[in-house]
Symmetry: C2
Subunit: 205 residues, 2 copies
Protein backbone atom coordinates (compact mmCIF):
# COMPACT_ATOMS: atom_id res chain seq x y z
CA UNK A 1 0.00 0.00 0.00
CA UNK A 2 3.06 2.27 -0.39
CA UNK A 3 2.07 5.56 -1.96
CA UNK A 4 4.14 6.38 -5.03
CA UNK A 5 6.80 9.00 -4.33
CA UNK A 6 6.48 12.66 -5.29
CA UNK A 7 8.57 14.03 -8.15
CA UNK A 8 9.59 17.59 -7.34
CA UNK A 9 10.90 19.59 -10.26
CA UNK A 10 12.85 22.56 -8.96
CA UNK A 11 13.83 25.19 -11.44
CA UNK A 12 14.37 28.87 -11.90
CA UNK A 13 16.89 31.21 -13.47
CA UNK A 14 20.60 30.53 -13.15
CA UNK A 15 21.89 32.18 -9.96
CA UNK A 16 18.64 31.89 -7.97
CA UNK A 17 20.28 29.50 -5.56
CA UNK A 18 18.72 26.23 -6.77
CA UNK A 19 21.87 24.31 -5.87
CA UNK A 20 22.07 25.55 -2.28
CA UNK A 21 18.35 25.13 -1.67
CA UNK A 22 18.45 21.63 -3.14
CA UNK A 23 21.39 20.61 -0.99
CA UNK A 24 19.68 21.84 2.21
CA UNK A 25 16.43 20.21 1.18
CA UNK A 26 18.16 16.84 0.77
CA UNK A 27 19.83 17.24 4.15
CA UNK A 28 16.41 17.71 5.80
CA UNK A 29 14.51 14.99 3.91
CA UNK A 30 16.05 11.52 4.16
CA UNK A 31 13.33 10.04 1.92
CA UNK A 32 14.07 12.55 -0.83
CA UNK A 33 16.47 11.36 -3.51
CA UNK A 34 18.41 13.53 -5.92
CA UNK A 35 18.32 12.69 -9.59
CA UNK A 36 21.73 13.36 -11.14
CA UNK A 37 21.50 14.89 -14.61
CA UNK A 38 23.58 13.87 -17.57
CA UNK A 39 25.36 16.68 -19.41
CA UNK A 40 27.76 17.16 -22.28
CA UNK A 41 29.24 20.33 -20.79
CA UNK A 42 32.69 20.46 -19.23
CA UNK A 43 32.89 20.11 -15.42
CA UNK A 44 33.26 23.42 -13.52
CA UNK A 45 35.98 23.65 -10.88
CA UNK A 46 35.19 21.21 -8.08
CA UNK A 47 32.41 19.34 -9.88
CA UNK A 48 32.63 15.55 -9.70
CA UNK A 49 31.33 13.01 -12.22
CA UNK A 50 28.49 10.94 -10.74
CA UNK A 51 27.97 13.48 -7.95
CA UNK A 52 27.13 16.79 -9.62
CA UNK A 53 26.44 15.41 -13.08
CA UNK A 54 27.10 12.43 -15.27
CA UNK A 55 29.53 14.10 -17.63
CA UNK A 56 28.72 12.38 -20.90
CA UNK A 57 30.24 12.56 -24.40
CA UNK A 58 27.86 14.04 -26.94
CA UNK A 59 27.46 10.89 -29.07
CA UNK A 60 26.53 8.88 -25.99
CA UNK A 61 24.06 11.55 -24.89
CA UNK A 62 22.35 11.58 -28.28
CA UNK A 63 22.08 7.79 -28.16
CA UNK A 64 20.18 8.10 -24.83
CA UNK A 65 17.84 10.60 -26.48
CA UNK A 66 17.32 8.21 -29.40
CA UNK A 67 16.48 5.30 -27.08
CA UNK A 68 14.01 7.36 -25.01
CA UNK A 69 16.16 6.89 -21.93
CA UNK A 70 15.86 10.52 -20.87
CA UNK A 71 12.84 11.93 -19.07
CA UNK A 72 13.66 15.35 -20.48
CA UNK A 73 16.58 16.90 -22.25
CA UNK A 74 17.50 20.31 -23.51
CA UNK A 75 20.25 22.28 -25.11
CA UNK A 76 21.32 25.24 -22.99
CA UNK A 77 24.13 27.61 -23.97
CA UNK A 78 25.38 25.05 -26.51
CA UNK A 79 25.47 22.10 -24.14
CA UNK A 80 23.06 19.21 -23.63
CA UNK A 81 21.46 18.40 -20.28
CA UNK A 82 19.08 15.52 -19.54
CA UNK A 83 17.48 13.40 -16.83
CA UNK A 84 18.00 9.61 -16.99
CA UNK A 85 14.50 8.10 -16.83
CA UNK A 86 15.22 4.74 -15.16
CA UNK A 87 16.48 6.05 -11.80
CA UNK A 88 13.55 8.42 -11.34
CA UNK A 89 10.92 5.81 -12.18
CA UNK A 90 12.47 3.21 -9.87
CA UNK A 91 12.68 5.55 -6.87
CA UNK A 92 9.11 6.79 -7.27
CA UNK A 93 7.75 3.24 -7.46
CA UNK A 94 9.61 2.39 -4.26
CA UNK A 95 7.81 5.31 -2.58
CA UNK A 96 10.81 7.64 -2.43
CA UNK A 97 10.43 11.27 -3.42
CA UNK A 98 12.76 12.54 -6.11
CA UNK A 99 13.97 16.06 -6.77
CA UNK A 100 15.08 17.25 -10.19
CA UNK A 101 17.08 20.47 -10.33
CA UNK A 102 16.62 21.43 -13.95
CA UNK A 103 15.95 24.45 -16.12
CA UNK A 104 12.51 25.57 -17.28
CA UNK A 105 12.77 23.94 -20.71
CA UNK A 106 13.32 20.59 -19.03
CA UNK A 107 10.68 21.19 -16.37
CA UNK A 108 7.98 21.78 -18.94
CA UNK A 109 9.01 18.64 -20.84
CA UNK A 110 8.66 16.57 -17.66
CA UNK A 111 5.20 17.99 -17.11
CA UNK A 112 4.17 17.28 -20.68
CA UNK A 113 5.68 13.83 -21.15
CA UNK A 114 5.74 12.30 -17.71
CA UNK A 115 2.61 13.95 -16.34
CA UNK A 116 3.57 13.55 -12.72
CA UNK A 117 6.04 16.19 -11.63
CA UNK A 118 5.22 18.98 -9.18
CA UNK A 119 6.74 22.10 -10.71
CA UNK A 120 8.32 24.55 -8.28
CA UNK A 121 9.80 27.80 -9.57
CA UNK A 122 12.50 29.33 -7.39
CA UNK A 123 12.56 33.12 -7.64
CA UNK A 124 15.32 35.50 -6.52
CA UNK A 125 14.12 38.26 -4.13
CA UNK A 126 14.82 40.71 -6.98
CA UNK A 127 16.61 40.84 -10.31
CA UNK A 128 19.30 43.10 -8.83
CA UNK A 129 20.00 40.42 -6.24
CA UNK A 130 20.15 37.80 -9.00
CA UNK A 131 22.77 39.78 -10.90
CA UNK A 132 24.83 40.23 -7.72
CA UNK A 133 24.77 36.52 -7.01
CA UNK A 134 25.94 35.56 -10.51
CA UNK A 135 28.80 38.09 -10.32
CA UNK A 136 29.84 36.83 -6.89
CA UNK A 137 29.90 33.23 -8.08
CA UNK A 138 32.79 34.31 -10.28
CA UNK A 139 32.57 31.37 -12.66
CA UNK A 140 31.09 33.19 -15.65
CA UNK A 141 32.40 35.73 -18.14
CA UNK A 142 30.60 39.11 -18.40
CA UNK A 143 29.09 37.96 -21.70
CA UNK A 144 27.71 34.78 -20.15
CA UNK A 145 26.30 36.80 -17.24
CA UNK A 146 24.48 39.10 -19.64
CA UNK A 147 23.06 36.08 -21.47
CA UNK A 148 21.96 34.52 -18.18
CA UNK A 149 20.09 37.68 -17.12
CA UNK A 150 18.30 37.91 -20.45
CA UNK A 151 17.42 34.24 -20.17
CA UNK A 152 16.06 34.85 -16.63
CA UNK A 153 13.53 37.37 -17.93
CA UNK A 154 12.39 34.89 -20.56
CA UNK A 155 12.11 32.15 -17.95
CA UNK A 156 9.82 34.30 -15.76
CA UNK A 157 7.22 34.00 -18.52
CA UNK A 158 7.10 30.27 -17.85
CA UNK A 159 5.97 30.68 -14.23
CA UNK A 160 2.34 30.44 -15.31
CA UNK A 161 2.99 26.80 -16.26
CA UNK A 162 4.23 26.00 -12.76
CA UNK A 163 2.20 24.91 -9.76
CA UNK A 164 4.25 26.63 -7.07
CA UNK A 165 6.58 29.58 -6.69
CA UNK A 166 9.06 29.98 -3.83
CA UNK A 167 11.03 33.19 -3.28
CA UNK A 168 14.56 32.39 -2.14
CA UNK A 169 15.12 35.37 0.18
CA UNK A 170 16.18 32.99 2.92
CA UNK A 171 17.45 29.45 2.28
CA UNK A 172 15.87 27.92 5.40
CA UNK A 173 12.49 29.49 4.68
CA UNK A 174 12.65 28.34 1.05
CA UNK A 175 13.51 24.79 2.16
CA UNK A 176 10.63 24.80 4.66
CA UNK A 177 8.22 25.84 1.92
CA UNK A 178 9.36 23.11 -0.46
CA UNK A 179 9.09 20.52 2.33
CA UNK A 180 5.55 21.75 3.00
CA UNK A 181 4.73 21.45 -0.70
CA UNK A 182 5.92 17.81 -0.71
CA UNK A 183 3.99 16.94 2.47
CA UNK A 184 0.83 18.69 1.23
CA UNK A 185 1.02 16.95 -2.14
CA UNK A 186 1.13 13.59 -0.32
CA UNK A 187 -2.20 14.51 1.29
CA UNK A 188 -3.93 15.16 -2.03
CA UNK A 189 -7.09 13.09 -2.38
CA UNK A 190 -5.97 12.08 -5.88
CA UNK A 191 -2.82 10.48 -4.39
CA UNK A 192 -4.48 8.86 -1.36
CA UNK A 193 -7.04 6.59 -3.01
CA UNK A 194 -5.53 3.35 -1.67
CA UNK A 195 -5.35 4.70 1.88
CA UNK A 196 -8.92 6.02 1.71
CA UNK A 197 -10.22 2.70 0.39
CA UNK A 198 -8.38 0.75 3.09
CA UNK A 199 -9.94 2.84 5.86
CA UNK A 200 -13.44 2.80 4.42
CA UNK A 201 -13.28 -0.91 3.54
CA UNK A 202 -13.02 -2.03 7.18
CA UNK A 203 -16.69 -1.15 7.52
CA UNK A 204 -17.67 -3.83 5.02
CA UNK A 205 -15.75 -6.76 6.55
Amino acid sequence: MTQEGILVVLSGPSGTGKGTVCKELLRHCPSLHYSISATTRQPRLGEVNGVNYYFTPQDQFLEMVEQNNLLEWAEVYGNYYGTPRKYVEEQLLKGYDVVLEIDTQGALQVKERFNKGILVFLLPPSLTELEDRIWKRGTDTPDTIKRRLNAATAEFDQIRNYEYVVVNDDVNAAVEKIRAIILAEKCRVSRSQKEIEAICAIHNT
Copy 2:
Protein backbone atom coordinates in the same frame (compact mmCIF):
# COMPACT_ATOMS: atom_id res chain seq x y z
CA MET B 1 0.84 43.73 -1.35
CA THR B 2 -0.60 41.49 1.40
CA GLN B 3 -1.65 38.14 -0.01
CA GLU B 4 -5.24 37.27 0.83
CA GLY B 5 -5.51 34.70 3.62
CA ILE B 6 -6.22 31.02 3.07
CA LEU B 7 -9.62 29.63 4.02
CA VAL B 8 -9.17 26.09 5.35
CA VAL B 9 -12.33 24.05 5.58
CA LEU B 10 -11.77 21.13 7.93
CA SER B 11 -14.41 18.47 8.02
CA GLY B 12 -14.96 14.78 8.42
CA PRO B 13 -17.27 12.44 10.29
CA SER B 14 -18.31 13.17 13.85
CA GLY B 15 -15.77 11.62 16.23
CA THR B 16 -12.78 11.92 13.90
CA GLY B 17 -11.17 14.39 16.25
CA LYS B 18 -11.79 17.60 14.28
CA GLY B 19 -12.13 19.61 17.50
CA THR B 20 -8.82 18.46 19.01
CA VAL B 21 -6.91 18.84 15.74
CA CYS B 22 -8.39 22.29 15.21
CA LYS B 23 -7.45 23.43 18.72
CA GLU B 24 -3.84 22.24 18.31
CA LEU B 25 -3.65 23.79 14.86
CA LEU B 26 -4.71 27.18 16.25
CA ARG B 27 -2.16 26.89 19.04
CA HIS B 28 0.63 26.42 16.46
CA CYS B 29 -0.51 29.05 13.94
CA PRO B 30 -0.89 32.56 15.38
CA SER B 31 -2.02 33.93 12.00
CA LEU B 32 -4.81 31.36 11.74
CA HIS B 33 -8.20 32.53 12.99
CA TYR B 34 -11.11 30.33 13.99
CA SER B 35 -14.51 31.05 12.57
CA ILE B 36 -17.17 30.41 15.20
CA SER B 37 -20.30 28.79 13.78
CA ALA B 38 -23.84 29.77 14.63
CA THR B 39 -26.16 26.94 15.69
CA THR B 40 -29.68 26.43 16.90
CA ARG B 41 -28.78 23.30 18.90
CA GLN B 42 -28.58 23.28 22.69
CA PRO B 43 -25.10 23.73 24.24
CA ARG B 44 -23.41 20.48 25.35
CA LEU B 45 -21.92 20.35 28.83
CA GLY B 46 -19.06 22.86 29.04
CA GLU B 47 -19.78 24.63 25.76
CA VAL B 48 -19.77 28.43 25.96
CA ASN B 49 -21.68 30.88 23.77
CA GLY B 50 -19.31 32.95 21.61
CA VAL B 51 -16.48 30.47 22.20
CA ASN B 52 -17.65 27.11 20.87
CA TYR B 53 -20.67 28.39 18.94
CA TYR B 54 -22.99 31.33 18.71
CA PHE B 55 -26.06 29.62 20.16
CA THR B 56 -28.82 31.25 18.17
CA PRO B 57 -32.64 30.99 18.32
CA GLN B 58 -34.13 29.41 15.23
CA ASP B 59 -36.02 32.50 14.00
CA GLN B 60 -32.86 34.58 14.21
CA PHE B 61 -30.88 31.89 12.35
CA LEU B 62 -33.43 31.77 9.54
CA GLU B 63 -33.26 35.55 9.24
CA MET B 64 -29.49 35.29 8.69
CA VAL B 65 -30.13 32.71 5.96
CA GLU B 66 -32.70 35.03 4.38
CA GLN B 67 -30.30 37.98 4.36
CA ASN B 68 -27.43 35.93 2.87
CA ASN B 69 -25.34 36.51 5.97
CA LEU B 70 -24.17 32.90 6.15
CA LEU B 71 -21.38 31.50 4.03
CA GLU B 72 -22.92 28.08 4.35
CA TRP B 73 -25.60 26.51 6.47
CA ALA B 74 -27.07 23.07 6.96
CA GLU B 75 -29.53 21.11 9.01
CA VAL B 76 -27.87 18.22 10.85
CA TYR B 77 -29.75 15.87 13.17
CA GLY B 78 -32.64 18.34 13.33
CA ASN B 79 -30.51 21.41 14.21
CA TYR B 80 -29.21 24.25 12.08
CA TYR B 81 -25.52 25.14 11.78
CA GLY B 82 -24.01 27.98 9.77
CA THR B 83 -20.94 30.15 9.19
CA PRO B 84 -21.35 33.95 9.53
CA ARG B 85 -19.97 35.41 6.31
CA LYS B 86 -18.72 38.81 7.49
CA TYR B 87 -16.03 37.62 9.91
CA VAL B 88 -14.50 35.22 7.38
CA GLU B 89 -14.38 37.76 4.56
CA GLU B 90 -12.84 40.44 6.80
CA GLN B 91 -10.07 38.19 8.11
CA LEU B 92 -9.13 36.87 4.67
CA LEU B 93 -8.88 40.40 3.27
CA LYS B 94 -6.58 41.38 6.12
CA GLY B 95 -4.31 38.48 5.12
CA TYR B 96 -5.21 36.18 8.02
CA ASP B 97 -5.94 32.53 7.38
CA VAL B 98 -9.27 31.23 8.62
CA VAL B 99 -10.25 27.70 9.60
CA LEU B 100 -13.83 26.46 9.43
CA GLU B 101 -14.61 23.26 11.33
CA ILE B 102 -17.81 22.20 9.62
CA ASP B 103 -19.53 19.11 8.28
CA THR B 104 -19.35 17.89 4.68
CA GLN B 105 -22.70 19.45 3.65
CA GLY B 106 -21.37 22.85 4.69
CA ALA B 107 -17.93 22.28 3.19
CA LEU B 108 -19.34 21.57 -0.24
CA GLN B 109 -21.54 24.68 -0.03
CA VAL B 110 -18.48 26.82 0.73
CA LYS B 111 -16.70 25.36 -2.27
CA GLU B 112 -19.68 25.96 -4.53
CA ARG B 113 -20.72 29.42 -3.37
CA PHE B 114 -17.54 31.04 -2.10
CA ASN B 115 -15.10 29.38 -4.49
CA LYS B 116 -12.08 29.91 -2.31
CA GLY B 117 -11.91 27.33 0.47
CA ILE B 118 -9.27 24.59 0.64
CA LEU B 119 -11.21 21.46 1.59
CA VAL B 120 -9.47 19.10 4.00
CA PHE B 121 -11.14 15.84 4.98
CA LEU B 122 -10.07 14.41 8.33
CA LEU B 123 -10.25 10.61 8.38
CA PRO B 124 -10.15 8.30 11.42
CA PRO B 125 -7.45 5.58 11.23
CA SER B 126 -10.31 3.06 10.92
CA LEU B 127 -14.05 2.87 11.38
CA THR B 128 -13.60 0.69 14.47
CA GLU B 129 -11.48 3.43 15.99
CA LEU B 130 -14.16 5.99 15.08
CA GLU B 131 -16.85 3.98 16.87
CA ASP B 132 -14.61 3.64 19.95
CA ARG B 133 -14.00 7.37 20.07
CA ILE B 134 -17.70 8.24 19.88
CA TRP B 135 -18.51 5.76 22.66
CA LYS B 136 -15.72 7.10 24.86
CA ARG B 137 -16.93 10.67 24.40
CA GLY B 138 -20.02 9.55 26.32
CA THR B 139 -22.20 12.43 25.19
CA ASP B 140 -24.42 10.49 22.76
CA THR B 141 -27.16 7.91 23.15
CA PRO B 142 -26.68 4.50 21.42
CA ASP B 143 -29.24 5.55 18.80
CA THR B 144 -27.37 8.77 18.02
CA ILE B 145 -24.10 6.82 17.79
CA LYS B 146 -25.62 4.44 15.26
CA ARG B 147 -26.88 7.41 13.23
CA ARG B 148 -23.43 9.04 13.37
CA LEU B 149 -21.71 5.89 12.07
CA ASN B 150 -24.16 5.54 9.20
CA ALA B 151 -23.65 9.22 8.41
CA ALA B 152 -19.86 8.70 8.45
CA THR B 153 -20.10 6.12 5.68
CA ALA B 154 -22.20 8.50 3.60
CA GLU B 155 -19.70 11.30 4.23
CA PHE B 156 -16.81 9.19 2.93
CA ASP B 157 -18.45 9.35 -0.48
CA GLN B 158 -17.85 13.10 -0.45
CA ILE B 159 -14.05 12.77 -0.19
CA ARG B 160 -13.76 12.93 -3.98
CA ASN B 161 -14.95 16.54 -3.80
CA TYR B 162 -12.13 17.45 -1.39
CA GLU B 163 -8.62 18.60 -2.24
CA TYR B 164 -6.83 16.98 0.70
CA VAL B 165 -7.28 14.08 3.07
CA VAL B 166 -5.49 13.79 6.42
CA VAL B 167 -5.63 10.63 8.53
CA ASN B 168 -5.85 11.49 12.22
CA ASP B 169 -3.84 8.59 13.65
CA ASP B 170 -1.70 11.07 15.58
CA VAL B 171 -2.83 14.60 16.44
CA ASN B 172 0.62 16.19 16.04
CA ALA B 173 1.20 14.54 12.68
CA ALA B 174 -2.26 15.61 11.49
CA VAL B 175 -1.59 19.20 12.60
CA GLU B 176 1.77 19.21 10.82
CA LYS B 177 0.11 18.05 7.62
CA ILE B 178 -2.57 20.74 7.76
CA ARG B 179 0.09 23.40 8.45
CA ALA B 180 2.00 22.13 5.42
CA ILE B 181 -1.15 22.33 3.31
CA ILE B 182 -1.66 25.99 4.32
CA LEU B 183 2.00 26.90 3.66
CA ALA B 184 2.01 25.08 0.32
CA GLU B 185 -1.22 26.73 -0.77
CA LYS B 186 0.37 30.13 -0.09
CA CYS B 187 3.10 29.20 -2.59
CA ARG B 188 0.64 28.43 -5.39
CA VAL B 189 1.42 30.44 -8.50
CA SER B 190 -2.26 31.38 -8.75
CA ARG B 191 -2.05 33.06 -5.31
CA SER B 192 1.35 34.73 -5.83
CA GLN B 193 0.70 36.90 -8.86
CA LYS B 194 1.35 40.21 -7.04
CA GLU B 195 4.61 38.94 -5.57
CA ILE B 196 5.77 37.57 -8.92
CA GLU B 197 4.96 40.83 -10.69
CA ALA B 198 6.78 42.87 -8.05
CA ILE B 199 9.97 40.83 -8.45
CA CYS B 200 9.90 40.78 -12.23
CA ALA B 201 8.96 44.46 -12.48
CA ILE B 202 12.22 45.67 -10.91
CA HIS B 203 13.92 44.75 -14.16
CA ASN B 204 11.94 47.36 -16.06
CA THR B 205 12.61 50.35 -13.77
